[in-house]
């Protein structure tokens, strides 16, 4: 085989796979120039050759048998776009062991088996690239590993799930409730029929585990990521947050502090003038703080056929450049350390607390006194309306340990005038 042509095998030809196929063909000439070699898709693995694809693939390029790709020595790059752990993990590991470089968009696979896969790639002197696994088309993995490599990364704040960002944006814009916006999102194709992984924060947690492992140079076990979804957010919370000049976003938060690393995904109040506060609809953005660069943010489409295809093709070009020069393994795993991940109870943050209380004199005093006993001090308080029944009392605290706030709220819920602790949402500055 000539060095001037590099053969690619695609595993899967769904949304992203067809995007990759389209991008490679549409911009073929320019891509060949940049890669220094023609990148040709030789085989595409599909479940059923007779099923219609979102892109025209000639019959002779289709196969239903993975070993057709695995055993084809001309194929030097395998692109895994099946998703999920099985059989993706096996296909990836076997490809690497057969001397093929692998590119994937599979965040679950990397978050759960990244170490094993990266080690296997290293042992076999091939590349494993995964730009598309976080932030769809947004360049973030390679910038972290190269342009920002001189920094000690101290903070990562990401809006990394388009479905939940769409839902929260619409709840804000339309004053609508979660359920109705979710339904609307499903109709528009922005949410899956089973939206659990998105709305419960799992998708964002996979992405945070990947970003944090690279940013903090220490493998972050997916089980160590605290996860809370957005199903408990009401239109009232969004509207009260706005009165305090905050937006509510599902944030993936990674921080390195002196006593360890924090990794958590949860709905978060973020100041309206923060660059992330204006990231709306299905857009994603990743805000990075480093000791040299200060603050930087990467913004763009977090999903979709062509944006994700763009990220995968960027990886294919990078790997092709390495193959041309025999420089595979150029960007290896960067988890050099083994840092402590804090328990949720050790994390210190600010909180938004929404209570339902009886509209009686002295209630606020009772509550703030009790909070004070647990070292919780107030930044702002707002009582909404007057009523013979209960009224909402909204508090924003200064920084406090999660353990302390939970104990304090347990006590508060026992106070007579307190009808309900209606919501507790973290606040980021």
């Amino acid at each position: 085989m000539s060095v001037d042509e590099i053969q690619v095998g695609l595993l899967g030809c769904g949304t992203v796979g067809s995007g990759v196929y389209k991008v490679l063909h549409k911009n073929e000439e320019s891509i060949t120039n940049k890669a220094g070699a023609k990148l040709s898709v030789k085989q595409v693995l599909v479940k059923d050759k007779d099923e219609e694809l979102a892109v025209d693939v000639p019959d002779e390029e289709l196969t239903e048998d993975f070993t057709d790709i695995l055993n084809d020595d001309e194929i030097e790059i395998v692109v895994e776009l099946i998703g999920g752990v099985n059989p993706a993990r096996e296909f990836v590991l076997q490809s690497l062991k057969n001397g093929k470089s692998v590119i994937t968009a599979n965040k679950e696979l990397i978050a759960k088996h990244g170490e094993e896969i990266l080690l296997t790639a290293e042992e076999n002197n091939v590349d494993f690239y995964f730009e598309a696994s976080v932030g769809g088309g947004i360049p973030i993995i390679k910038p972290l590993k190269s342009s920002l490599a001189g920094n000690k990364i101290t903070k990562i704040l990401g809006i990394v799930n388009g479905t939940t960002n769409y839902i929260l944006t619409k709840m804000d814009e339309e004053g609508a409730e979660f359920d109705s916006v979710l339904k609307q999102a499903q109709e528009l194709g922005y949410a899956e029929a089973d939206p659990t992984s998105d709305i419960e924060g799992c998708d964002a947690a996979y992405k945070l585990a990947i970003l944090s492992s690279i940013g903090f140079e220490s493998r972050i076990d997916i089980d160590k990521v605290y996860v809370e979804g957005i199903t408990g957010i009401t239109k009232e919370d969004i509207s009260y947050a706005r009165e305090f000049d905050y937006k509510i976003k599902l944030l993936a938060i990674g921080k390195e502090e002196e006593d360890g690393v924090e990794v958590r995904v949860h709905p978060t109040l973020i100041p309206e003038d923060h660059p992330l506060a204006n990231v709306n609809d299905v857009f994603n953005a990743i805000f990075i703080e480093g000791d040299a660069i200060g603050e930087t943010m990467f913004y763009g489409p977090g999903a979709g056929q062509m944006p994700t295809g763009s990220a995968v093709v960027g990886d294919i070009i990078e790997v092709a450049r390495n193959i041309k020069l025999g420089a595979q393994g150029r960007l290896p795993c960067t988890c050099f350390e083994n840092k402590k991940v804090k328990e949720p109870s050790e994390v210190e943050t600010r909180y938004y607390i929404r209570l339902e209380v009886l509209d009686e004199p002295g209630v606020l005093g009772q509550i703030t006194n009790l909070l004070g006993e647990y070292n919780v001090s107030m930044e702002s308080v707002m009582q909404k309306g007057r009523s013979d029944e209960s009224v909402p009392l909204v508090l924003i605290t200064h920084k406090v340990k999660e353990g302390d706030i939970n104990t304090a709220l347990e006590e508060i819920s026992k106070l007579d005038p307190v009808k309900e602790v209606a919501n507790l949402i973290r606040v980021e500055e």
Copy 2:
């Protein structure tokens, strides 16, 4: 010399040079891990060894003679941070010819002599990297050349000059005039004693020439970039723009359309909900549109010791990775084509026009009729106040060729009730 240590020579130790020195030392362990080799500064070229530097450099690392670095075979990477064309160009070319890879933050040098330098690097099989030349610490050059390499880039909109962005932000926030804000910026160190290159748009033009050459894969001659600074922007323009829901920013605009490439730097009205509209103070951002990714934006500090140091060190690490693997030349010049750059008169855009007119019946009719004769149609019109003398009349047009608008305005200026064509600013969607 062991492969596990790579020697670096720094040319210049001013703001950026001392930043590079600091970053390399501060994060030495992590940088060594990532580069796969210890990166040691062996020699620093300064004008005068006795002058105090912003960072502690041991005497034995200082030299006043460039040939000490040029002829030191152990030095494999030269970092040029002198700025300007002479002697930077000679130093860079000689270093490349002596087999050293070169990194620079020098936008003027690249914009004016990029082709010669990149060819020399290629002929000598070494690297020439320049991430810090655009957007300070913001990763943008490498993302364009790698993560986004699968795209045909169609549009580049950049806020790439911190000084002018600071001035326009303050004029907007404080309702202040240009001159007083410029003075304030100079006192704060955000503007130079001689601010010409910033406020007249030259600095932004260099950066646009670099971005466009990479984005459109065709060398953009700096002389082909249309440049207009911000000195003609008044607080009235900013306030009227706001009434139409626009902000005024100094934008570096590159577009590829069917009939050629447009490259222009000028004050621009941009809709308030555009991601660039909220990039304030000295921050920079580059908004990119590609056929696969759609829209993406890179935001961060556009200047400063540590952010620019961060970008340079990112390049040093990348080049070190190439040296370790013998993969120099991995990211060569990507100007594969020779595209036509449009003349300013061929460019079609929308315009904001501010006139001073007599407050008489029929004036608006006269003006819009005349504009209509030159194919200029109106999108919005606003007349401010009433007066016996002249009043401002502000128009926003639909798309029109620059040639047509200029002829139309010449005719309009001759109308009796028109006292002055006070300003003409382009509008971007």
